[in-house]
């Protein structure tokens, strides 16, 4: 059997694949986070909580209404995204023009409320969510065995990223988003309803987080703190990748996922700190982030 660093190839390939799956979660989450930060100038602490709400949404729909995975994948992002848009319109929008610390505090408060609420209703322990029937089983790749569901997660997450990229970079709605990100006041003077764009973007970012939550439900146990565990890493990724480039944050997220996976087998003690070591290095050497653009960091 082929070995790399004294490890069998199948172990390396397995960890790469696990890392890629995590990287996909990171990518969709950091995409939403970057979209929200760019337009609203708000560090959305609640991103992980909405991810968790997405996973719980899928679990609740199945448990109480018998709604299956595929419908959840469509409905949950819409429902949770609508809640996000409502939160922006009624509360977050009042903080426009104030110190960003207020937005951070409000969204952090929402994390505590959401996590506390779910804990109160459903307890702290995890709830299993079944892999949909169509995606059970494995693919035999020769050098490794790939569970179908994980392959689907990678494909679905990359599709979500590609669609978001296309919407932002190639459509007229995307041009309005970029314009409002760069010069909000001028953009509004042209007759573009910027406050509505902000609500829409926040809702879209939250919908992406909820979509990731549904994707993650069959892999991670559905529990109230599943978002907090993930979102810290996502913040680090946004810092490493820089705020300026969607493509950059996707690439960074996938790379970080894989690096984290490898570290687990090579030197598992460092697997949870390696990301923050990288973040510190990037901040020292390139404060704008690897792909950051001037003036957008």
């Amino acid at each position: 059997m082929t070995e790399i660093f004294g490890l069998p190839l199948s172990v390396i390939a397995g960890q790469t694949m696990l890392g890629l799956v995590n990287g996909c979660f990171y990518a969709v989450l950091s995409l939403g986070l970057a979209l929200i930060f760019g337009l609203l100038r708000i560090v959305n602490f609640a991103h992980g909580a909405f991810f968790m709400a997405g996973a719980f949404g899928a679990w609740m729909l199945m448990r109480f209404l018998g709604v299956g995975y595929w419908w959840s994948l469509l409905l949950v992002p819409l429902l949770v995204g609508a809640v996000g848009a409502l939160f922006e319109r009624t509360l977050l929008s009042r903080l426009r023009g104030l110190d960003p610390i207020y937005g951070l505090l409000l969204t952090f408060g929402l994390v505590l409320a959401l996590e506390g609420g779910f804990r109160l209703l459903f307890g702290s322990s995890g709830h299993p969510y079944p892999v949909p029937a169509a995606l059970k089983g494995t693919l035999q790749l020769g050098f490794m065995v790939l569970p179908m569901y994980r392959a689907w997660v990678i494909a679905a997450a990359l599709a979500a990223c590609t669609l978001s990229w296309w919407l932002i970079e190639r459509t007229s709605l995307g041009a309005q988003l970029r314009a409002a990100t760069e010069k909000d006041v001028l953009t509004q003077s042209f007759g573009i309803d910027v406050p509505r764009l902000l609500t829409l973007s926040y809702g879209a970012g939250i919908a992406l987080a909820a979509f990731t939550g549904v994707l993650a439900a069959p892999i991670l146990h559905v529990n109230p703190s599943m978002g907090s565990d993930l979102v810290i890493v996502v913040f680090a990724i946004v810092v490493i990748g820089g705020m300026g480039s969607i493509f950059g944050s996707i690439v960074t997220a996938l790379a970080i996922g894989v690096i984290e996976g490898w570290t687990k087998v090579l030197y598992s003690e460092a697997s949870s700190t390696i990301i923050f070591v990288l973040m510190a290095l990037v901040l020292l050497l390139r404060p704008r982030g690897l792909f950051g653009r001037e003036g957008t960091a």
């Binding site: 007229s172 041009a175 309005q176 970029r178 314009a179 990100t181 760069e182 010069k183 006041v185 001028l186 953009t187 509004q188 003077s189 042209f190 007759g191 573009i192 309803d193 910027v194 406050p195």
Partner: protein
């Protein structure tokens, strides 16, 4: 004088605690070019921004064709048919030239089509796919004006369109403004270049420390150029 298309009464504006406009009255008749003259910091740019609703606080009355605008948010003022070209040109770096051109939504019929704009500004078509800020200063100014001609807005607020540009470009902008006036646009122009203003405008408002201190007719400025020029400190 005919009835004003844009009628401003008692307009005051503030940046935080400091007041920048102290009760401006101003009328612009349909199809006129009116310039705002004054030294740096007199409040000319603030006046344009106040009409657009993009200053922190303002009060008074701004009527467009009899419709009160002062309570509206900026995008509703844009949709009402007022278009603004800022003194820094406001070209977006993250948008291509064509995206910059097509960004402002059409708010009324009668705007120039993309084909007409291409004919008027051939350079912009040639560089359609470049980032907006890769254009030269003159081209950026052309783009900043071109993009508000597409929307059907009939009142144009132009903040120093000739600032920092070569004489040949300034001349082209002058020709363009004459052409726009012929097409019935109503233009309020902030201008430091007195000779440029004198050639183009129907009337002038002299602004000092946030107040209108003098209204000067076209003919009067030509005979009185020296006095006004001293007053402006140019």
């Amino acid at each position: 004088m005919a009835e004003a298309l844009l009628q401003i009464r008692g307009l005051r504006a503030w940046y935080g605690p400091s007041q920048a406009l102290h009760g401006i009255d101003l009328d612009v008749v349909r199809g006129e070019i009116v310039t705002l003259l004054g030294r740096n910091g007199a409040g000319k740019s603030t006046l344009l921004k106040s009409v657009m609703g993009i200053v922190p606080r303002r009060s008074g009355s701004i009527q467009l064709d009899g419709r009160e605008l002062i309570e509206l948010p900026p995008h509703r003022i844009g949709q009402a048919g007022v278009a603004y070209c800022p003194d820094d040109r406001g070209i977006y770096a993250t948008l291509t030239v064509r995206e910059n051109l097509l960004l402002p939504p059409v708010v009324a019929e009668g705007g120039l089509s993309e084909a007409e704009l291409t004919a008027l500004f051939p350079n912009l078509a040639a560089r359609a796919r470049s980032a907006g800020t890769q254009l030269s200063g003159g081209e950026q100014q052309m783009l900043a004006i071109a993009r508000i001609l597409r929307t059907g807005a009939r009142v144009l607020l132009l903040d120093e369109p000739t600032e920092g540009l070569a004489p040949v470009i300034v001349e082209r902008i002058g020709t363009l403004l004459v052409e726009l006036k012929k097409r019935g646009y109503t233009i309020v122009l902030v201008e430091q270049n007195l000779h440029f203003a004198a050639e183009l405008a129907d009337r002038h408002y002299l602004i000092e420390t946030g107040r209108v201190v003098e209204r000067i007719d076209r003919a009067a400025l030509t005979t009185d150029m020296d006095r006004v020029s001293t007053r402006l400190g140019v």
